[in-house]
């Protein structure tokens, strides 16, 4: 059956959707949706077909927007997206993920985890994470104290990993009741020299699970790129061969768990844009042992933009597509696993997130 591909593009001023056929050569852009609220992340829940968009508005606070019909109609809710009276209120929703049996997870700012059992209409706080004794020591990263990476285990509903900037990675094996830090082997260059491998406090930027596996994780950190073969209990650096140790997004091939995509930037204090102002997506085919720069079709001069933590994704087509959105509002797409690229949208607001979904045409 013919396919069509949706790219959900969260921006500082609303959600946009680019829609293309299975050739992935021509795209139609629609939006902005969600009343031009800042949308930090959007997903299409395969269980329901609904689009959910995570937002936070300076005036009106946090909400998850939901469209049951691919963007024609929208509702929004923040019912239950709240901490106890007296605590710093939730200001924005930063990430979403489908869980098991119709569950939705939401990561918020200030960092915490919420769960919905009714498709985003109401939410309940997963208390265990913020009850962790380390919470008084969680410090905000540059974008605030946010829970951005949400990685449910593919089979076990009780297992889940989260990434918090800049508290680090945490994992639960009991459905969220208890959590443990999973940061062994990741660096914190901003601590004194003898304290650079702490139990927690690392600035994880993005963490993803390799599809088809149950504990092979990859992580782009503020201080390096890492692989974990044991569900985050230990991490190994894979930054050799990359132009810097700094970047935001990470994505894994939909069928090959050792093919990973990263977009290193020129460093945290050098502008945070493309190294030498030349755009490249870096690809490994061997789980991070070696890297190749993918540049064909990408701007090779004056590329003074960055790519944010949730702004790169793959599709599940054959060959796999790869997509990323820039801080300057362009979307680039590759229909050949990163070998070549075309610009498919431009002049959008700052892009926060890119996700894809393949539908029957």
């Amino acid at each position: 059956m013919a396919k069509r591909i949706l790219i959900l593009i969260g921006t500082k001023k609303g959600l946009f959707v680019a829609e293309g056929d299975e050739n992935r050569k021509t795209w139609r852009l629609r939006g902005p949706y969600c009343n031009t609220w800042p949308i930090h992340h959007a997903i299409l829940d395969p269980a329901t077909g609904a689009i959910h968009a995570a937002g936070g508005n300076e005036w009106f606070g946090p909400a998850v927007w939901t469209s049951p019909d691919l963007g024609a109609a929208w509702t929004h809710s923040s019912e239950g997206l709240a901490y106890a009276e007296g605590e710093e209120p939730v200001s924005a929703v930063w990430s979403l993920s489908p869980g098991h049996d119709g569950t939705l997870y939401a990561g918020v700012q200030p960092a915490g985890l919420f769960r919905s059992a009714d498709g985003g209409k109401t939410w309940s706080h997963v208390n265990g994470l913020r009850d962790h004794p380390s919470r008084p020591h969680w410090n905000p990263g540059g974008a605030g104290l946010i829970l951005h990476s949400l990685v449910p285990h593919p089979q076990d509903r009780d297992r889940l990993w989260v990434g918090i900037s800049s508290a680090g990675v945490f994992g639960t094996d009991d459905g969220g009741k208890t959590w443990e830090p999973r940061n062994r082997g990741t660096r914190a260059d901003y601590f004194p020299e003898d304290q650079r491998y702490p139990e927690l406090g690392q600035c994880v930027h993005c963490m993803v699970l390799a599809p088809g596996t149950d504990q092979l994780l990859y992580q782009q950190n503020h201080c390096g790129m890492y692989r974990s073969d044991d569900g985050g209990r230990s991490w190994t650096s894979m930054e050799n061969g990359l132009p810097s140790s700094f970047g935001f997004p990470a994505a894994v091939h939909p069928r090959d768990p050792r093919t990973v995509y990263l977009i290193p930037l020129n460093g945290d204090s050098a502008g945070r844009f493309m190294p030498d102002a030349q755009t490249a997506v870096w690809r490994t085919r061997d789980g991070g042992d070696s890297w190749q720069a993918m540049r064909a079709g990408l701007p090779q001069e004056n590329a003074y933009f960055g790519v944010l933590r949730q702004a790169m994704a793959v599709d599940r087509m054959e060959p796999a597509g790869v997509y990323f959105g820039t801080g300057s509002g362009e979307v680039y797409a590759s229909a050949d696993e990163g070998d070549s690229w075309t610009q498919i949208a431009a002049h959008l607001p700052t892009i926060s997130s890119v996700e894809t979904h393949v539908l029957d045409a």
């Binding site: 009343n35 005036w59 009106f60 606070g61 929004h76 709240a82 007296g86 209120p89």
Partner: protein, 108 residues
């Protein structure tokens, strides 16, 4: 029990209704855009700004969260004015008061 009515009718009728109902609440159009079917102006009985927000939330579920955070407090970038003065949740309302719920200067 809170009461409310649509004041968008004929001017004479609206004036009569206003005289009979204690508080008139005027809502920001940006806020109303989030709640299809909501009205820019509504009359109700409410003893405080917090009561007024509760009633708005009863009329249009979810509107309370857009105005008031979980502290609880009026959101940082929202303003509620009662008879021209900036109010808090505890500000008392009296019959005849005119309340504006407005978005503050914000954004970029």
């Amino acid at each position: 029990m809170a009461r409310h009515d649509d004041l968008s009718g004929a001017a004479g009728h609206a004036a009569a209704v206003r005289a009979a109902l204690p508080v008139t609440v005027k809502l920001s159009p940006v806020l109303c855009d989030l709640f299809p079917g909501s009205r820019r102006e509504v009359a109700m009985v409410a003893a405080t700004v917090a009561d007024m927000i509760d009633e708005l939330d009863r009329l249009w579920p979810g509107m309370g969260d857009r105005i008031r955070d979980s502290r609880p407090a009026i959101r940082k970038h929202m303003n509620v004015f009662v008879d021209g003065s900036r109010a808090s949740l505890k500000t008392p309302l009296a019959p005849g008061d005119e309340v504006y719920v407005l978005t503050a200067i914000s954004g970029g």
